[in-house]
């Protein structure tokens, strides 16, 4: 079964690059450019993994993460943070808020793919 990936990032260039890479890898990719539309997409689309940027206008990634975790439909979806912020405190904060993985930009595409595979392989209902 094809894994569904939701990318929430306000940078369209990043969206495009990730879409190109992940689609080529056989993932089904859905895009969202801000927090509210990302949350909506998460509920409707029920992705296997969410790639989430932290710095976004209006609603930042921490808030999105908090809402994802507090809603029952999305609380168990693995969330991989992909951010340009490499500060340790941010990393720690993301962990405490319930992020599954924490990757920084610029990234190695292999790392992202490995992270997605690792996050979904735990899910026994989704055989590879």
């Amino acid at each position: 079964m094809t894994r569904k990936i939701l990318i929430i990032d306000d940078e369209w260039t990043i969206q495009l690059a990730l879409q190109a890479r992940l689609s080529a890898h056989g993932f089904s990719v859905q895009l969202a450019s801000d927090g509210p539309s990302g949350l909506l997409a998460a509920q409707q689309y029920q992705p296997d993994v969410i790639l989430l940027d932290l710095r976004m206008p209006d609603m930042d990634g921490f808030e999105v993460l908090r809402r994802l975790r507090s809603a029952s439909e999305t609380s168990s979806i693995p969330v991989i943070i992909l951010t340009a912020n490499i500060q340790d405190s941010v990393k720690q904060q993301a962990r405490s808020a319930g992020a599954t993985r924490f990757l920084t930009k610029p990234f190695e595409s292999k790392d992202i793919i490995n992270a997605i595979l690792a996050a979904t392989s735990k899910d026994v209902c989704t055989p590879t």
Binding site: E11, I14, R21, A84, I86, D88, S89, T104, P106, F107
Partner: protein
Amino acid sequence: MGNPGSDLPPQIQCDSILTHESFCADSWMFIRHSYRNVRLMRAPVHPKEAERLQAVRGTGLVGGRPDALQETVIELASDICGTPIAAVSLVDADRLWFTAIRGLDFRETSRDAAFCAHTILDDVPLIVVDATQDPRFSDSSLVTGAPAIRFYVGVPIKTVDHLPVGTLCVMDTTPREISPQKIENLKTLAALVATQLQSSGPKALLQIGEVSRFLTSIVDSSGDAIISKDLNGIIRSWNSGAERIYGYSAEEMVGKSISMLIPEELCQENERLMAQITRGEPCNNFETVRIAKDGRRLNVSVTLSPLQDSLGRIIGFWKVVRDITEQVETKAQLRDTAAHAERLAEIARRTSNAVIITDAQGRITWANEGFTKITGYTLEEALGNVPGRLLRSDKTDPKAAETMRAAVRGGVGCRVEIINRGKHGREYVLDIEMHPLHDAAGTLTGFMAIESDITEKAVAKAELHQAAVRSERLAEIARRTTDAVIITDAQGRITWTNEGFTRITGYTLEEALGKVPGHLLQFEKTDPAAVEILRSAVSKGVGCRVEILNRGKDGREYVLDLELQPLHDATGILTGFMAIESDITEQTRTRLELENSRLELMDFAENASVGLQWIDRDGIIVWANKAELELLGYTPEEFIGQPISRFHADSTVICDVLARLARRERLIGYEARLLAKDGSKKIVSIYSSVYEQGGELKHTRCFTIDITARKEAEDRLKESRKVVERQNTELSVMAERAHRVVDDVSHEFRTPLAVIKEFASIIADGLAGPVSDKQAQYLRIVSGAVVDLNHMVEDLLDSSKLRAGILRVDRRAHRVDRIFETGRAALASKASTRSIVIKERIEEGLPALFADEEKVRRVISNLTTNAIKFSPEGGTIVLSAATAARIGEIIISVTDHGPGLSSSDIERLFGRFQQASTARSVAAKGFGLGLSIAQELSWLNLGKLSVISEKGKGATFSFTLPTDDCVSVLEHYFDSIVASNRPEDQLSLLRVVAKAPTALDETQEFLASATYPTDLIMPALGDEDDGMQQEYAGQAWWILGRTRSVESWIARLCEARRSQSLENTIRLAPLSVDVCGTWRLPENALEARVDVIEAVTQEKLRDAKNPNH
């Protein structure tokens, strides 16, 4: 841990002293200062420690019972030295007991931390001017933590066997000096305490509180037997008086029953008396009979008083026994003499009786010559008169007159004493014996009165009464049988002496008879003036009283209070002298000692270098010493007698001072400003206490210390500190701002870099359509350049953080292969652009390392990036990890086959590193910022970066890391401390325990973010004191860090925790922080290394022994 005081009450056994726990609620942190000082600063034990400990126990004071006399001594000591703290301590095996303490609120402490443990090792006083500067004490918990002792002077208190049981000591929280005179005073006080401990003796029977009374009673009645016995009548003490009276020695009697001394028939009486006292009824004095060793029955006067322990329970009896055998005999003799005298007087007077005969109506019909002699009336004049009318005076007792009248009326006899007046107005006392006269037929014919003039007799009676009073005095003398009584003839030659004389002088009556006492007893030390007084009294035949120093037969010197009275016979001729001599040697010595110590103390107070004044209850200065007057520049006349408020610059302050003193508060270091005569204001620190007598304020004693100079210096310092603080704040704001700019810049860089890199990689991977090999290769170069650029951004960021000292370090146990694995893809992709192969070699069985994984990877990455840069196209780079030559160390190396470095290149490269501050700002020859960052990061990982290279033969850059073993981590940490040239600092060891279940990472990451890169965080074993150990074992950490003070560090941790708990929605576990030790750096770095390693490994060892853990 062995507990030495198992016989002590439980509250003393617990280890609560110097432990205080506080809970910082908003930051969820428990802070505990248990000062389990791991550094062993224990003083060596005393060479006779076992005997010494026995002596300590023998004082009966172990456990720190308060003692009134010692309280007085320490009050004096602290007043003398002007210190807020003074104490009498006993140094026990593991603990220090304060039997009296002032200025601190605990009564015991650990011997390890104690100054006094050192004091007892030497005969001379221990003086510590500033404990922080003294290597023996600078690490003591009493110095590093509360109460922050700086100054200490201790004088050992020794038993008669020269065993030091404890100390008298004074302490202060600021460094200070002490004059030799004060030391001498402290020594005197210590000797006083030693005497007290001594007299309290090894027997618990003699309670300390009794001591002064006991001593006084010995002095007051040295001839009395003083015996103590317990409730079973077993004798516990037996003094020399008892020995003298009963003839038994102390050895014979102590431990024996008192009943040995009591005549059989009196046993019940004795039991009744003891029962009476036990019921609380007093039994002041009674006379009874006792049996001496030689079988003599002794008349004794006994005083019984109960002996109580500190709780007031009766545990025995005091008995003061006085031999009154002589007294009883003298009394009997006196009684006989008086009766005899009376009889004689009667006989002597009878001859001159008046005889009157009257008719039945009482009219005089005849009178004898005696009548005329007595009354002055001739027979002719008296005839026909009624005697009563003729002779009555206004002093005549109407009752006596009535008796006589009634007798006359009734025709019966009577006998009365009556005062009459004679013809010449002389009043006289008559003893009238009146008999009725009857004729043969039995008819009353008249009366006969025999009248004795008893005027003289009455006078004699009065005299007799006086004689009785005198005999009382004699009895008094007799009672004081310990006194010597000498009777001499008019020439001063001894005619009689009593036993007391023999007892005091050693001469028997036979030896003394006929001698002049002066010749016999005086010697070269006898005061000539006293002798002269005696001689002059003898020659004039008058009395005198002198104190005189004599020498007895056995050479003993003693002081006598000698009362000399002339003796006269009835005719007033001097017949001799009587001398009553009391041995007042003891009193004199005590008095002299008291006088000397009084003089010493007065001199000390007057000449003390500290200002001292007494103020009465109305605020008037009643006394001031020299220093006080000199301080302010007044003469005694200008100062004493004035209200103290006149000399205070601030009226509110002196009002407050007087109000506090009125409330009996003690002032310690109270600051005030005084007005000097020259108009200047002196800032002084006042130490003051109230002297009370019978609950009434007598005066207050104030010590005044001039701190004007210190205060001014402090003010200047404060001012300049403020300036520095302001500058610091400004600087840190600027640093923070700059730091944020760098952060923002790097953040802004990253997104476009990511886009460039990813698209280059997507195209190169052919995901956007077919590309030629050439195009793919170029795109990978673009990709690699982006990674380089990104590293530069990271280096810039780290560089700025390193400079600000806030780069986070999170060291944990990691496996080398995992670290290699994580970085492999990025490096390989970079190397592949130049067809370079990276080979990895990891030694078999390599242990885990202890480091910040991210930093290790950055160092590997930076070194490999350089290696790729310098390697020929298609070359090989070897990345290896192996155990280093040094135990507990791993070495990671990156070897290239590039052009290599010459030794001068290396020197230039690493020479720069040594100037750490400039290293980061200057990119070393072609190596970029990366190498200097690598060097810094290696250092943060407690290792070292080095290079081995030869020109033309490539280069091997290596860095070391500690293995995951607490000893090697600590060794590396301390090496890094030694290597850094930071100025003076404090190193502290904390133990942090999470008090609730939490994600292991949460607390570890919090600690890493809240501490500095120079701090070390190591996992500790779970908190064994905590009942929750089963569930949360392992949730404990050691933290070792350098700060200016441990308090500021803990405050910082609390602050970080608070801000974290505000940011976080999830609940954080409360943390308990235990301060386990502090050391001064750099001077105590070596001790710190030993102590910390010991503390951490001991925990491990303990854990290994405890299988439950």
